[in-house]
Amino acid sequence: MAKLNLLLLAVLVACALGLVTSQHQARKRFAELELEQQRARELEVEYGRLQLEASTWGQHARVARVAGAMLGLAAPDARRVREVAGAAGPQEAP
């Protein structure tokens, strides 16, 4: 009887220690998760900022200005544009 009690006591202590360890592990993992989520939020913010930048640089008016003034480009006269039959066009290509 006393032996059984001792055994159960040992099991109980082991379980208690296990509980404490797993709780500790869980908290550690959770802290890591929080850090990663924080990083995700920061990346999200940076993504927004980059989008803003891309959109600012890519403004149609600015592209037209750069193309015209710096690169000397111009929209071709409609008579110099040749339309290619749809089947060979890049959109319709299989």
Partner: protein, 575 residues
Amino acid sequence: MTAAGAILPPRFASWRAFGVLGLLLAGFAVLAARSVWLQWVESDFLRRKGEARHARVLEVPATRGRILDRNGEVLAVSTPVQSVWAIPEDVKASAAQLKALAGLLSLAPAELERRLADAGRDFVYLKRQIPPEVAEQVAALGIPGIYQHREYRRYYPAGETAAHVVGFTGVDDKGQEGIELAYEALLAGVPGSRRVIRDRLGRIVEDIASIRAARDGRDLALALDAKIQSLAFAALKSAVETHRAKAGAIVVVDVRTGEVLALANLPAYNPNNRARLSGAQIRNRVVTDMFEPGSTLKPFTVALALSLGRVGAQTRIVTAPGSLTLGKYTIRDVHPAAAMSVADVIRKSSNVGAAKIALALPREEMHAFFARLGFGAPPELGFPGEAAGKLRPVASWQPVEQATMAYGHGIAVSLAQLARAYTVFARDGELVPLTLVRTGMPAAGRQVLSPEVARTVRAMLEAAVQPGGTAPRARVMGWRVAGKTGTSRKQENGGYATNRYIASFVGFAPVSEPRLVVAVMLDEPSAGQYYGGQVAAPVFAQVTEGALRLLGVPYDAPLVPIGLPGEGEEAKEST
């Protein structure tokens, strides 16, 4: 026994031993009861108290949704910025530090000192919404009593180009104008909060409960095409400057889907820097302003007469002597002619002809037709402050009103309503509902005219932009276009001004299979020219050509360059 008994203390009564034992047991019993009480009965309360020692409620921020154009280009986006504030009493800084701080915040040193001198207040904003890089430099100064907190600021990369559609938000990130206001519920995020446990290092180690889940605002894709929008804005701007107009507006509609591909107004403003904004700058004239459209309404009068079978396209209308007197009001033509066909009434824009056609129509039919075209009711774009326009109740119509309404006076519409009404001619008689939000799907229209009548009027409108019509300047190379000019005198003091006009042009292209309706309006062009055909039609041509090219619409006309109309090839319009 007696000796031992001698050194033993006298024997105590046994009840004393039991008494002590009883007291001890009672003590244990009290302790046990207390622990049971704490473990079971009061455990919730104690747990709460314990958590309160190291649990914190955290705000979970939510971001406002972005506004995109139809191709995903960003038109409005929120990004975090820092606001710098101070507790004046606690600020202890050297003169050099203060100077550096003033420099970083771009404040005058005297202004900074004035704000910090107010020791009675315990919260003073030094500067709101500064970029994160500057905020880091401010933090690096390490001045006690200076704090920062995070705020969101809305940026509009398209600037003034799309300002009137997108609108803007206030400093608290709430929509104040335009789409930002109209779709506030969709765009706005709802910040949440949650209860967490922090360890001694301040790390979050456990989530106890989510008090309120945060919900980020949803992104909104508009129908606008940023390229066409930019093109329309630039063309309108150059026309407003050339003709020294007070204001201008343009709207481009995709006929198939009813989507508004471009909508621009002048004067405009930069939504990123809204110091000294005037009401005239903010107003979205396309949807909130109404004006007397003038001759752009004539095609509808003719269309109704055609569908009631009162006239045919070649019916001769007697317009001699070039004026028509109804009571004390006289309607005049700029170019008097003895008689002209119904098609020529549109091509030459004859007021007398249009009035005579209208007078032959039942007024109830005319009112019902205008109402079916959407005049007198808001266009339901979902935009704040949409004008309904003015369509008088039919009971109050006298012959003179019926006659003037035939050529667009005595009725007021917004440019959006006018553009929508023209979809009737572009879509074989169907009126297409407009939308500012991307749908990407063909819109179902409401049949207002028979396809035959719509096509007949379409042919007349194409003739109006040929040499001899009122708007040869509306033509573009490669595509057949059709449209109608309008030149109306502005109303003032209950009458019509003699030298202030609104020039307009509404048209569509390509005629063989219409894809776009473009409506242009210039308010008070005052550099000499004021006819819709001279002022508004070239804007139409420029925008239509660019937009059709951007959309990849196939050519339906020979590629022959289009020169300016020669002498006598451009009909003057009656106002």
